[in-house]
Amino acid sequence: MNKSKTKYVGKNVLRFEDERLLNGNGQYTADINFPGMYHVAFLRSEISHGEIISIDLEEAKKLENVYDIFLYDDLKHISPIISKSNMKKYLPTKQHILCKKRIRYLGEPIAAVVAKNRYIAEDAISLINIELKELEPIIDTINASNETKNFVHPSLKTNVILERTFSQGDIKDVNQNELISIKKIFKMGRKTPLSMEPRSYVCDINKRTNELTLYSSTQVPGIIKDAIMTYLGINGNQITVIAPDVGGGFGGKASLYMEELIVVAIANKLQTPIKWVSDRYEDLLTTSQGFEEIIEAELLLDEKGNFISLNSNVYGDIGAYSIYPWTAALEPMQVAGFLQGPYKIKNFYSNVKCITSNKPPTGPYRGVGRPAAVFVIESLVDMAARKINMNPSQLRLNNIIRKNEQPYKIGSGIVWDKVGFEECLRKALSLIDYDKIKTTKKWEGVGIATYGELTGIGSKISVAPGMPLNTGSETSRLEIDSTGSISATFGIASHGQGLETTLSQVVGDHLGVTPNSIKIKQGNTSLITHGTGTYASRSAALAGGAAIKVSKKARNHILNVASFILNVPKTEIDIEDNLITQKNSNQKLSFPELSRIVYSDMQTLPIKLRKPLIFIESYDPIFGASTTATHIATVKINPETFKIKIKNYVVAEDCGKVINPMIVDGQVQGGVAQGIGAALFEEMKYNENGQLETATLADYLIPNSLDVPEISISHLEDFLPNNIGKFKGMGEGGTIGATGAIANAVSDALKHLNIEITELPITPNKLYTLIKNKEKK
């Protein structure tokens, strides 16, 4: 056992998923077809704010092979989607399945056309005559929050649908005259997750059993199944939600979408399979977006460089609706929640407003709130370092929460425990040889970002505050069938993380079998009674924990059975490499032999040992695993073009026990690439007329391979959390650290001009404007 315990965990086991995915044998939702299947296309709003005056379907309906067209009235039995929360001062929004009268964002679905194929459906859309009344679009976040007449949801009589204040200490006790103030307004651009596979849904119907199966490119099949029951009134045993191979999610596939419900509702109504595959344009327009915030922040410190107080106002632009199930609280509250980062600051104040606008709803996006929070606090720290002329690494070390000071509760209420903030920071500094690489050269800079993160959270902590949903537990069922083959089933939904591989490694170690002999089943609601899915850096910690518990239970039972068969005490038996062996002897039992004896041989075992080899365990870590990473980037700016080139990039990160170093490194690199996008490239730009200026990938720029540098990654495994597997989440960290590190590096590269970056993404064009404006002054 001791020997086998780390046989697979910690090793670079090649991903089992890759063989099918790289050979073109993967099956994504768009690959799934059924006989007699109809296709849906949506007529979408071409304006951001308005009212429908009339819709004329006559011409469209006449088109050959158009089977039906659905408007709100045809689906009005579906009650509006309301994302509930127990938070005080929260005003939930009502989202109709199709626009009823009011249009609240560009691309909002108005009509669903059902036709023989997508081409014909789109032909029909071009024949629909729609008359609209345009209303003044609510685009600017601050204006929206102050608005007294023009509301996204007139019945709410405000655009601020949630407000909350976090406060610790009393700033009035601090004599501010003796302190140094760093006060800035930061802006984080709106992003879209942009997974390689756009959202897609296919709903099949079995007329014999009257069962529906929704194939969905989702991260959260369990949540979708629950929503279908709630909103369409279909019993849980009549609907299965399957997430087949899913090509990335990044949070964009972690919410409920109207198209998802409509596809099921229409399949049920027309009693025929229905398919909708989002195209890239629809994906850009309508997949939940992320990150749009304005943050007024002030850091007060004394002249020795001790942080005294951090005050902020967070204005979060949540778009047109409070997204289901996460609510509008998710992104902006996390900004405030993590703003203090890993620092000792006695006095903390943050007011957060969640503001509706005529833009698509924001939802979870890799990092949730923290990329903006880290950008703000880490920029403030560097600005403070410049002001008091102190080395930025030293200023961080002066204020960082040390090992012996934990558990430490920060101003927002989050508790840091067992986190190597200082150790990660020092590791990153030595990895890049910080003091050597620090430069006084013009146009060259180095930037640090260090942060705290809460991952793998249990039932005591909500993913989004006040949300009535259990995201804190995971169940695993391990089965050994009559042939002796092993499968383990989970409620997670892997969409690129390689969880089939990593969970096999965990089960393999704890059961004593090779990872490739285990079938991991996931992403299918019919296989498990409850499970939500994969999001919030939870799957390795929670499903990994459940895997350990269930494997131990199975192992123990197998030892009991084997003990009877081999007629030796349990302690004399070992399970390794799929063989059940008696120590110091030749006696061996394979899994097929064991299964034969359990299931088919009616003589060897007493009845109580002949029960099926099915084991179920749930795991709830109750709290979360706090973790950290430090990112350090160096950049060089070309003064001829203002192009920003990232030269070096290091990450020292702490994900607890590393299950598969290659997968962890891949996650970190991918996360950093998305962080580079947030820092240098990506922004969904809605102009004052509510039109999207970045509606294609020629305008919405993401970093390509040449924009992402080699990243040196170092893992810290000295601060293991209290959860069962000692795993911490790490899927989002790459994105969280990159914004701050790059912003600081760019500011450092502009030190000769005294320009500090307060808005991301920072593009060559914006840089040019900043520099020209500075020269004019």
Partner: protein, 292 residues
């Protein structure tokens, strides 16, 4: 994002293609399809007929005469980059075409498609402007030659007729010259925000500028030749610093627009930066002398 209904013809000879062009309405020629297909998917282009000319072998060639190089309209960017004749006489083409999008797009896209698409930030339109090309076009009844100056009309508009096909592009050889090309885009492979190319034709002493050509793209509705600056360079010694031109002469000649990739000011700045860079590079470049 699906195209509207269209008919598809594949012509295996030029005569057949010209017949179809002559007899049908609302027809679009497809070669590489790298710009046309996205437009059709957005339904911004809705041709009734798509005429595929990829099988017309007569349009896929590079040939040399004593005074010029002729490039068939179906030559792909990749094949142009790899053509030894092009490398020998106009290495600027091999160099600049590497800036066209990405490898898979360069494998499909053709010179004919690129110039009739007339995107003012594309590389081929800039190259043919710089190289004083003649564009040979033909309809069912006659062939005509269009000087590059008369070829581009504005953004995505050329002066060829609906029933005409671009057959080839003729590039007059240049005796003794040096060249340079520079481009800036948001990312490698993106459309150029600004692109600029220079050719300095030299006297026999290989030092005095006999004739200067400077083209700039991405900053107006078509490729611009900077005539004023060109004229001032004539007679200058290439070992002088040529980048001391009047900024005004540049800014007056171009007319960039505000868009997602840059403001007017930024594009002016970028044009100035790139022009200085390209002139400096050109002066330091090897002199080419291929014409016997």
């Amino acid at each position: 994002m699906k195209p509207s209904d269209f008919k598809y013809f594949k012509a295996n000879s030029l005569d057949r293609a010209l017949d179809i062009l002559n007899s049908e309405e609302n027809i679009k020629i497809i070669a590489g399809g790298q710009s046309l297909v996205p437009l059709m998917n957005f339904r911004l282009g809705q041709p009734d007929i798509l005429l595929d000319i990829n099988d017309i072998k007569d349009l896929n060639f590079v040939s040399e005469s004593s005074s010029s190089l002729e490039i068939g309209s179906l030559l792909t960017h990749t094949n142009a980059i790899n053509s030894n004749l092009i490398k020998l006489f106009f290495p600027i083409i091999s160099y600049a075409l590497k800036y066209v999008a990405h490898q898979t797009i360069r494998n499909q896209g053709t010179i004919g498609g690129s110039i009739v698409n007339a995107d003012p930030s594309s590389e081929w339109p800039l190259l043919i402007s710089l190289l004083n090309a003649k564009i040979n076009v033909r309809n069912k009844f006659k062939e005509r030659e269009i000087l590059v100056n008369d070829f581009f009309d504005s953004h995505f508009v050329t002066n060829i007729e609906d029933d005409e096909i671009v057959i080839s592009v003729t590039l007059p050889k240049i005796n003794k010259y040096c060249w340079a090309f520079e481009e800036h885009s948001s990312r490698k492979g993106d459309f150029a925000i600004v692109e600029t190319g220079v050719i300095l034709e030299l006297e026999d002493n290989c030092e005095t500028i006999k004739n200067a050509r400077i083209a700039i793209g991405g900053v107006d509705e078509k490729i611009i030749r900077l005539k004023k600056i060109e004229k001032k360079l004539v007679g200058k010694n290439i070992y002088q610093d040529l980048s001391i031109y009047k900024k005004l002469d540049l800014f007056e000649a171009i007319n960039p627009v505000n868009d997602n990739h840059g403001s007017v000011d930024y594009k002016n700045y970028l044009s100035d930066s790139l022009l200085k860079k390209v002139l400096k590079k050109c002066v330091n470049a090897k002199v080419i002398s291929n014409v016997k």
